[in-house]
């Protein structure tokens, strides 16, 4: 064991030399990417791509560690409490990491949003209003007109309750005055068949789900400009509604990681994300590669937090 570790350290050291020596021997062992969801989910695929394209960029391998459970709470609480040595990096999703601490029952322990130090933003996933190609409404205006005339009759799938999709639904209800019957599914793997079979009439959720489906139409997309992955779908702005709704995925580290280590991680992930092959693979998975620095990611988190808080207050979910 001792010899093995010595050799690993030595190998890592030799490899690290050309890249510039950082923080006295960091990294000397693989860096773990903590995934707060089950293998096979959307987060897992994003992280596997980092693992795949991280070869040759990082001095030591990136490895995936799963810590699933309770919609990410367990993984993120583990991340917040991990040793701040730079060997544990966690994938974090927005708006999950601002919603969970906000909605947590009093007395229930768990991480706070501020415990997760933003390392960098990786990708985003625009929210889309989806319907079947053979559904009676072909435009967002038709859907809203019908829903206003028949409040609570249009069944809308979302992934989760008080989740990103649910916020998206609230935004639409608030802006249009329509009222929908929400059906919260446990994951997109359940919501997609529900839409395709007609169990629900529409699905307000991730564009990555939309891009995976055949015979569906997008009625509106939550990006400011047209979304490059589905350029035919009009934005809410074009339709006259002030709605923007996007889910972000990024990386975070525990607080108090030494600055050189943080800088090493940030700059290397920046290099990884600049690889066009990586970006192509991300787009293939239905996500938009959008690297941003830790500081920018922190701004996004703060913005999302404020937006979610005001929306939830308006709907009387929190005080």
């Amino acid at each position: 064991m001792g010899l093995l570790r010595f050799l690993t350290v030595l190998a890592a050291f030799l490899l690290a030399l050309p890249a510039g020596v950082v923080a006295a021997g960091y990294p000397s062992k693989p860096v773990a990417i903590l995934t707060a969801f089950n293998p096979g989910g959307g987060s897992d695929v994003s992280h596997r791509l980092l693992e795949k394209y991280g070869k040759g960029v990082f001095d030591t391998p990136l490895i995936i560690t799963y810590k699933p459970g309770a919609g990410g709470e367990i993984g993120w609480t583990t991340l917040a409490a991990a040793r701040p040595d730079g060997y544990t990096v966690g994938g974090v999703d927005l708006p999950h990491i601002v919603l969970q601490p906000m909605l947590r029952k009093k007395g229930q322990p768990g991480y706070q949003t501020e415990d997760l130090f933003p390392l960098c933003g990786l990708v985003y996933d625009a929210n889309v209003v989806m319907a079947r190609a053979d559904s009676p409404w072909k435009t967002f205006a038709e859907l809203i007109a019908f829903a206003r005339a028949n409040p609570g009759k249009v069944r809308v799938a979302t992934v989760g309750k008080l989740s990103g999709d649910h916020l998206f639904l609230m935004q639409i209800e608030k802006a249009t005055g329509a009222k929908f019957a929400q059906v919260p599914y446990a994951g997109s793997g359940k919501a997609i068949p529900a839409l395709l079979t007609g169990e629900v009439d529409a699905y307000f959720g991730s564009g990555s789900s939309f891009l995976r489906m055949e015979n569906t139409i997008g009625l509106a997309v939550g990006t400011r400009e047209r979304y490059a992955l589905c350029p035919d779908v009009p934005t809410f702005k074009e339709l006259g509604y002030d709605i923007e709704s996007i889910k972000f995925r990024g990386l975070a580290i525990p607080r108090n990681v030494p600055e050189p280590v943080r800088a090493y991680l940030e700059s290397h992930f920046a290099r990884l994300c600049a690889n066009p092959e990586y970006q192509e693979a991300v787009r293939n998975g239905g996500l938009m590669p959008a690297f941003c620095s830790g500081r920018e990611f922190a701004d996004i988190i703060a913005r999302e937090k404020a937006a979610a808080a005001s929306l939830l207050k308006e709907f009387g979910v929190i005080k």
Binding site: K55, Y66, A70, V183, K190
Partner: protein, 500 residues
């Protein structure tokens, strides 16, 4: 259509074959070690496939999946501990058969049944994927609920003679499955304001606890009590005898294969539920239902054919629609996307070479597992020669390591130990642990189907009508009712006969 010569040349590449054989062996071991599973095996192997061609990568991962479904049966038979949740039903007859001194026959039965099931599922995947994908789309939330209710009727067969204890056990299991976050609203339940209980009682560590720990504790009991360890009786020529007996009971394999494929294609059901249904149905159609649970071949064939047929079935919606039909299929889906393949019907035309190489290759990997299995059976059966006191320690150690390795969580180890003590008490009180395990496995899926149906029914305006009016649901309700009436009638006539 695809180019058959490309498929053949892909599959005759020796490197591919070696990779497949290695992956299949890895899969068998992952399945055979309680706690490790196919899902974990696929996830662990995935990074090693980045360097190879996509079709090789898929074949490696597919071989792990097939291998693990077979491997799960080995500890079920030898030490009465299911290697994977889907191998739970294999303990019902597999272990009693081993106790009768026919461990080798039981293992060969499981092997042949697994291969038959695997080939059955792959055949469905190759030739029927588009009609079956359409079938998979006709199952909705209420059917998910009713299928679980149907699977619960197996309690009546499991606890023959003491249905009340069976029902109590299952209720306890359902109650345990409620711990943690509500699957639909995410509200915490029974968490006592701790982080650890938020994730609930994980099924796999609980199964290890319920089955392995009582087994180890039984080994500790003083001599004179019934030996809990199966004897080691080498039996040359048993393979041919098993094949002959298997062919005589081929109807069991056919029935279980169909059940495996059908339940496999249902999103969110998977092998765990399918094996219960297959075991129960086989028992119902058998001419000697009273012999089930005493160690007969049919009782091993049904679950083993079924859980391997699920492999093919679960990949139909995964490849054609991007919707996984089981937990390992979900990881396979992730692997597919990491390798730049986009699931959908287009996959079968645009990437036909890869998809058909993969599907045809799965046939090959099943045949490899058959060969590997013949070797592994001879190896594993010697475990019975290990003296009880060594075996006891290794079962305990493996249980702890297995429970921890799933999510590297100490909470899982604690729940494994808790379930172990509970399991021992239940067995001593003659309750049996199977109904509890059944409740725990089905609980989450059952509840999710129920709650989603409530939401949907409310939107329709009539919740009750929503549950009872869909033709697919009615079919499942009718099956459930028939199953219950049949078992009560059996019980009743058995009592009458006993009284006479």
């Amino acid at each position: 259509m695809f180019d058959f010569s490309t498929v053949l040349s892909n599959l005759s590449d020796p490197v591919t074959l070696v990779l497949m054989a290695a992956s299949a062996s890895f899969g068998i071991v992952m399945g055979a070690v309680p706690g490790l599973s196919g899902t974990l095996g696929i996830a662990l192997l995935l990074p090693f496939t980045f360097g190879v061609e996509p079709h090789q990568a898929l074949l490696m991962l597919g071989s792990v999946y097939c291998g693990s479904e077979y491997g799960g049966s080995i500890p079920s038979i030898l030490i009465n501990t299911p290697g994977t949740a889907a191998a739970l039903c294999t303990t019902f007859d597999g272990h009693p058969m081993a106790m009768k001194g026919q461990a080798q026959k039981a293992l060969f039965t499981a092997l042949i049944a697994s291969i038959f099931g695997g080939l059955f599922g792959v055949t469905a995947l190759l030739f029927l994927s588009s009609p079956l994908a359409a079938v998979s789309m006709s199952f909705g939330a209420p059917e998910q609920f009713w299928l679980c209710v149907f699977a619960l009727t197996i309690i009546a067969s499991l606890s023959s003679g003491n249905v009340l204890k069976g029902i109590l056990g299952a209720l306890l299991g359902l109650l345990l499955s409620c711990v943690g976050m509500d699957p639909v609203t995410a509200a915490p339940r029974f968490t006592f304001n701790t982080m650890e209980l938020m994730g609930g009682v994980n099924v796999v560590p609980a199964l290890i606890g319920l089955f392995a720990i009582p087994q180890a504790l039984m080994l500790l009991r003083p001599a004179g009590a019934r030996p809990p360890m199966a004897p080691y009786v080498p039996a040359p020529g048993v393979l041919w005898e098993t094949i002959r007996d298997f062919c005589r009971r081929i109807w069991v394999a056919g029935l279980s294969g169909v059940i495996g494929v059908v339940v496999g294609i249902m999103p969110g059901a998977g092998g765990n539920i399918a094996t219960f249904v297959a075991y129960n149905e086989t028992r119902r159609f058998s001419r000697t239902p009273e012999k089930f649970g005493t160690g007969i071949m049919e009782g091993i064939m049904a679950p083993e054919v079924c859980n391997n047929a699920v492999v093919g079935g679960a990949q139909i919606p995964m490849l054609t629609l991007g919707i996984p039909g089981s937990a390992p299929a979900a990881v396979m889906l992730g692997a597919l996307m990491t390798h730049g393949l986009k699931p959908g019907f287009a996959l079968f035309t645009e990437q036909a070479d890869i998809v058909y190489t993969y599907s045809v290759g799965l046939i090959l990997s099943n045949l490899m597992i058959l060969l590997l299995g013949c070797f592994f059976v001879r190896l594993f059966v010697t475990a019975l020669k290990i003296p009880a006191h060594y075996l006891l320690v290794s079962i305990m150690a493996m249980s702890v390591v297995g429970a921890y390795s799933i999510n590297s969580s100490t909470m899982d180890v604690m729940s494994m130990l808790g379930c172990g003590i509970l399991g021992y008490l239940l067995i001593r009180a003659r309750f049996g642990v199977a109904p509890l395990a059944l409740g725990l496995i089905l609980g989450g899926t059952l509840e999710e189907g129920f709650k989603l149906s409530l939401h949907l029914g409310e939107a329709e305006g009539n919740v009750v009508a929503f549950f009872f009016s869909r033709p697919q649901s009615l079919a499942l309700i009718a099956l459930t009712a028939l199953s219950l009436i049949y078992s009560f009638w059996k019980e009743f006539s058995a009592r009458k006969r006993a009284a006479a």
